[in-house]
């Protein structure tokens, strides 16, 4: 399960702690949204960085009070056909202004990565796709009709910008 960020494969230093499981004494952890909202004070008081993992039904707005204190948001795609994570990502980036790492985890496949990137993800824990594949997938298109969270200028407006 390669973890790819900013055009390179990186080591995963984070551990996801299921709800109800014991917290490790050290190391960076992500927890489910419900765990974060319930135990916010204790979790944020830890020495190590804290992150959160969103399930498809989670409302990103619930993260608003924590956004400047968490270092990683993982968005889970239990099945690649469940596209709610794309809306969660767009909301986090464009509406709520989250600027930290936004990582796609779960059933993350090569051919979804460009959509993820456009929706605001900057890290991908892929099922099989290696670095070369991911980089290729990200370069398959050179123009995009609509604005999104990746900062590309839309074709609608590129047509009329004076370059």
């Amino acid at each position: 399960m390669p973890l790819i960020k900013d055009g390179t494969e990186i080591e995963d230093t984070w551990t996801f702690i299921e709800d109800g499981a014991d917290l490790p004494s050290s190391g960076c952890i992500t927890v489910p949204l419900a765990k974060l909202t319930e135990d916010a004070d204790a979790l944020l008081a830890r020495n190590q960085q804290i992150g959160v993992r969103l399930s498809p039904a989670d409302d990103p707005h619930d993260l608003t009070p924590f956004l400047d204190r968490i270092a990683l948001i993982e968005i889970d795609f239990p099945k690649y056909v469940d596209g709610r994570g794309y809306s969660q990502a767009q909301l986090l980036r464009r509406r709520l202004g989250y600027a930290g790492e936004l990582r796609a985890v779960g059933h993350v496949l090569r051919d979804q990565i460009l959509y993820m990137n456009r929706s605001g993800f900057d890290a991908y824990q892929t099922v099989r796709a290696d670095l070369a594949n991911v980089l290729k997938a990200l370069e398959e298109y050179s123009a995009f009709y609509q604005p999104a969270a990746d900062g590309h200028q839309s074709v609608f407006s590129r047509r009329h910008s004076k370059v």
Binding site: Y80, V81, A143, R158
Partner: protein
């Protein structure tokens, strides 16, 4: 007609390359069929009973001669010499080999066509009035906004994996020929105090749960419509059901949430959009796209044509066809011609490669290079001078394209049914053909007047049976084909779901039952001017039920 600029061309080229890579990875076994499925589906490639099917997008049904010739060539080179026009104004090829699909897409790109998002759980081809830009009853041409919506929805990163497929239709005419109230989103263009905008209907649909759309907003100005659509799509993407495929369409979300609450959610999401999130479509871009749809260079003509009148007198068959298959044009001396793809005993919506070549030639020679596919599976030449009509007719007739039945009982919408489709429970095509035989006498058919029969081979309702004036649904009863009949459905501005009239009939009983229904109508109509659908609305279904089931 819209023409690609360098961005459109580049995006479509990149799609061809991307899909070629995906097919190669599938054929080499690098990706599994399960993972390939959503990729091929977002490119219109379905696995059907006998082979892969390729559905090519015809945005809002718009073609020209070059595109039609390319469709003919693809039919000839990669299929068995024909293509099938669909109820969403697209074309399907039933016999394309998977390995050939990238080459087909490359050929399509040469004429600015593609198969992007013609299937899959994404925003599909935007459909519209097939008489757009030609008809007298529209307040403006809806095609520029169809094109803008096409571009906005193409590869939209947030809405590629929706709970279910998503269909948008746009009309600008009082009489709705685009069936907007049975679409996921139906847009009716309006003008208010000099501002162009849209009446927004959401949550219509057919399938196993037919629902007429709810109006969520009376007027969204054109400069805000894309942002408003984003709000609707986001609410659907986040809250639409994903636990059950049959409850995943937006109509179920609207119904279960309630139209008022759904509207509130949309308005809340829309109000929360920040300036930085807005699409901010530049006015110059709206103007640029509008300019492509400027009317062609019509000549100043009188409203009547001596040549047309003389030809009608000389050729009764022509006069008869002209009575049925023409639609009034906004410019004097011109008309819109419906080229029927419903010959008696034919395959509804099928056109051969040579027929496509004929239609291309006529459009180029007489029709300002404009061709439309209709949602009733016919083809329209929208701008033909009355002076040229007889020549056009003769060439159509020679090609078997001049059946005089537009909107009559033999002009049926028929899904491919069990003959082609792996979802179907029963055959549709033979049922349609047998009914056509009953009504093949033109005098009888014309006496009946406008009457839409829609036939689906299963509950997925691709043949739009819920909104047929007479709807016929194929069902499987222990391996035997039965057909359920409904009356009173309609897809226009008075959209309604038909009412089932009784127990399903055996295949061989269907043509006779339809004849009984029709003759019952002829007996009870107030005059020849009272259309079938109006009579059903007036008297209800009981007289028809009685006529069919009374002897049981």
């Amino acid at each position: 007609m819209y023409r690609y600029d360098e961005f459109d061309a580049q995006i479509v080229k990149e799609r061809v390359d991307q899909f070629r890579g995906q097919v190669e990875r599938r054929l080499s076994g690098e990706i599994l069929e399960d993972e390939f499925k959503p990729l091929r589906l977002q490119n219109g490639v379905y696995l059907q009973l006998h082979a892969y099917m390729l559905r090519v997008a015809i945005p809002y049904g718009q073609l020209n001669a070059a595109r039609m010739r390319k469709l003919a060539k693809i039919a000839r080179d990669y299929d068995r010499g024909y293509g099938h026009m669909t109820t969403r104004q697209n074309i399907q090829y039933n016999w394309v080999a998977l390995k050939d699909t990238p080459d087909v897409l490359e050929e399509l790109a040469e004429v600015e066509m593609h198969a992007i998002q013609t299937s899959g759980n994404c925003i599909r081809n935007v459909t519209s009035d097939h008489f757009a830009g030609a008809t007298q009853d529209e307040i403006m041409d809806p095609r520029p906004w169809c094109e803008i919506i096409r571009q906005w929805s193409t590869f939209h990163p947030e809405f590629a994996f929706l709970p279910r497929k998503f269909k948008i239709a746009v009309t600008a005419a009082e009489h709705d020929r685009a069936a907007i109230r049975v679409h996921d989103i139906g847009l009716h263009m309006r003008e208010r105090d000099g501002v162009v905008g849209f009446e927004v209907h959401v949550g219509g649909g057919q399938g196993r749960t037919p629902i007429i759309a709810a109006m969520v907003n009376e007027f969204v100005p054109e400069t805000e419509i894309l942002d408003y659509l984003e709000a609707i799509m986001r609410v659907y993407n986040r809250f639409g059901r994903r636990d059950n495929k049959y409850k995943a369409r937006i109509k179920i979300l609207v119904t279960e949430t309630g139209p008022e609450e759904f509207t509130r959610l949309v308005e809340e999401e829309y109000a929360a959009q920040q300036t930085s999130e807005k699409i901010a479509l530049p006015q110059v871009e709206i103007d640029r796209i509008n300019a492509y749809f400027a009317p062609p260079a019509f000549e100043d003509k009188s409203a009547t044509s001596d040549a047309f009148e003389r030809a009608k007198t000389a050729d009764p068959a022509f006069a008869n066809w002209a009575k049925i298959n023409l639609h009034p044009h906004k410019v004097p001396g011109y008309t819109s011609v419906t080229t029927s793809l419903k010959p008696i005993g034919g395959l509804a919506g099928d056109a051969t490669d040579s027929q496509m070549m004929v239609m291309a030639h006529l459009a180029e020679r007489y029709g300002f290079d404009d061709i439309r596919v209709t949602h009733a599976q016919n083809v329209v030449l929208p701008h033909i001078a009355l002076d040229d009509l007889y020549e056009v007719y003769r060439e159509l007739a020679a090609a078997g394209l001049a059946t005089a039945n537009e909107s009559l009982i033999t002009d049926m919408i028929v899904c491919p049914g069990l003959d082609y489709c792996n979802l179907a429970n029963a055959r549709s095509i033979p049922v349609g053909q047998e009914i056509q035989k009953v009504f093949e006498d033109p005098a009888y058919e014309q006496d009946i007047g406008k009457l839409h029969i829609n036939i689906s081979g299963c509950i997925n309702a691709c043949g739009h049976h819920h909104v047929g004036h007479i709807g016929i649904l194929g069902v499987d009863r222990k391996g035997e084909e039965y057909y359920q009949i409904s009356l009173g459905g309609r897809a226009d501005e008075k959209a309604a779901v038909g009412q089932i009239i009784g127990k399903a009939l055996r295949h061989e009983e269907v043509p006779g039952a339809v004849k009984t229904i029709v003759d019952t109508y002829r007996d009870l109509r107030t005059s020849a001017d009272e259309k079938f659908i109006d009579a059903v609305e007036r008297v209800g279904v009981e007289p028809f039920q009685e006529a069919i089931y009374a002897t049981d």
